[in-house]
């Protein structure tokens, strides 16, 4: 069994909670996190990973959901292996865009409209949940720092979300950063991440 982390490289990947969870469960750890943090990017990578692998447990951390995955249009890199390095992340708070992409900034408010971002995210959570369950793949999702907004467009989808597999969902007080802070830990430390790993394990155990 492999524990596979999906989401943001800095917040979810590297030696963060999923890594410590793999140690707790005595499993191998695979870091499938990337710089592209948008829900669409996570959706694309998880579906691709599931189509190529068996016997894995995805740990999906949602963060910086107001972002879009884009793919280089000039000077594309040749690649082999799982990850396509030509994908890049464009986020609402992103800076240092290449010259050819700077015109995107004029449409930031349109591209990252709060309702649009929320509906996309919520929709992808439900779809990914059903996708993983259809293959009988156990998983845990968690919100790193924000929550899905409950509104007329998302409420039916939110009701469909399996809360036994997802920490946070629409509750802004239940994201992981707030959770560790409440317990007196710092999110950015090993202790904080071990604490999150414990929570993820509890979630996996509570069937």
């Amino acid at each position: 069994m492999y524990i596979v982390a999906f989401g943001c490289k800095d917040l979810v990947g590297n030696k963060n909670a999923a890594y410590f969870l793999s140690k707790k469960l005595d499993c191998n750890y695979i870091d499938c996190t990337t710089e592209t943090t948008s829900p669409q990017s996570i959706f694309r990578i998880v579906t691709k990973y599931a189509s190529e692998h068996e016997d894995f447990l995805p740990i999906i951390g949602w963060s910086n959901t107001a972002s879009l995955q884009l793919r280089t249009i000039y000077s594309r890199l040749e690649y082999t292996g799982f990850h396509d390095p030509n994908y890049w992340n464009y986020s609402a708070n992103g800076k240092n865009l290449k010259l050819e992409n700077r015109r995107l900034d004029r449409f930031k408010d349109v591209l990252f409209d709060e309702h649009l971002v929320n509906i996309r995210w919520c929709n992808i959570v439900v779809s990914l949940q059903e996708f993983l369950k259809s293959y009988k793949i156990d998983y845990v999702m968690y919100n790193v720092e924000n929550a899905i907004d409950w509104n007329a467009n998302t409420m039916h989808m939110i009701k469909f979300i399996d809360r036994s597999k997802y920490i946070g969902v629409e509750n802004p007080k239940a994201n992981i950063k707030k959770y560790v802070k409440k317990l007196g830990y710092n999110f950015a430390t090993d202790e904080g991440q071990k604490c999150i790993a414990g929570l993820l394990k509890d979630k996996l155990d509570s069937k």
Binding site: D113, E130, H156
Partner: protein, 240 residues
Amino acid sequence: MTTIVAIGCSHTYGTRLDGIQSSSLFNINNNFAALLAKRNNFKIAHLSQPGGSNEFIHRQTVDWLTRHRKRDEDYIVLIGWTSPFRMELRYPEDSDVEHAALSKIDMKYFPVSIGQEPEIAQTKQFKNIHSILPIMFEETKEYDMWASYALATQRMLQKNKVKFLMYNTCEEIKITQNNSSIINLFDTITYLNPTTKDANFLYWGLKNGYEKTECWHLKLDAHIAWSEYLEKECKKLDYF
């Protein structure tokens, strides 16, 4: 009684089906999904939208499953995937601006596609959005996402024991370095010819001698023929 749920873009919606109007009750009531329903005395739920993207089609399917589906009713969901070079934007929630279409979907949604007349947008910023479309619509990305949307939709409907049939309406899905393993998992009994050129509604129609309108839509005769084709495929699957 069975309900046909039709999800797709303008080809499913019936745009220019009468050769004249882009959106009218006649067109909606005579698109291929409605014709299939009428012939078999089924109910019909129209959830398509002109300009709808594959992201929209995926979202509509999730929305239907979580909001509208009643567990004790019989449905056949018809999903017509569209050109990948499209996306959804949304007019601000607190503005009065809405996108005009005869449809029951969220009226704030504004579909954007390559080649679309900027004038149909209601605000200056939305009219100018075309300047960034070459960056937004990178080809591999669009085919990668289409494959993920289609496989996830297939698995979601299978898991929830919903009868469905998927097909392309105007373009085939292209295989990329990223999406080939996903495409290999398509169930080609329920997703008809996903990667075959000229097997989608539009090109199948043209190949069979049906006339297209100026804006590349097929008319009533082609809708009748496609509805008969879909009916045959549904019967092969023992849906009715």
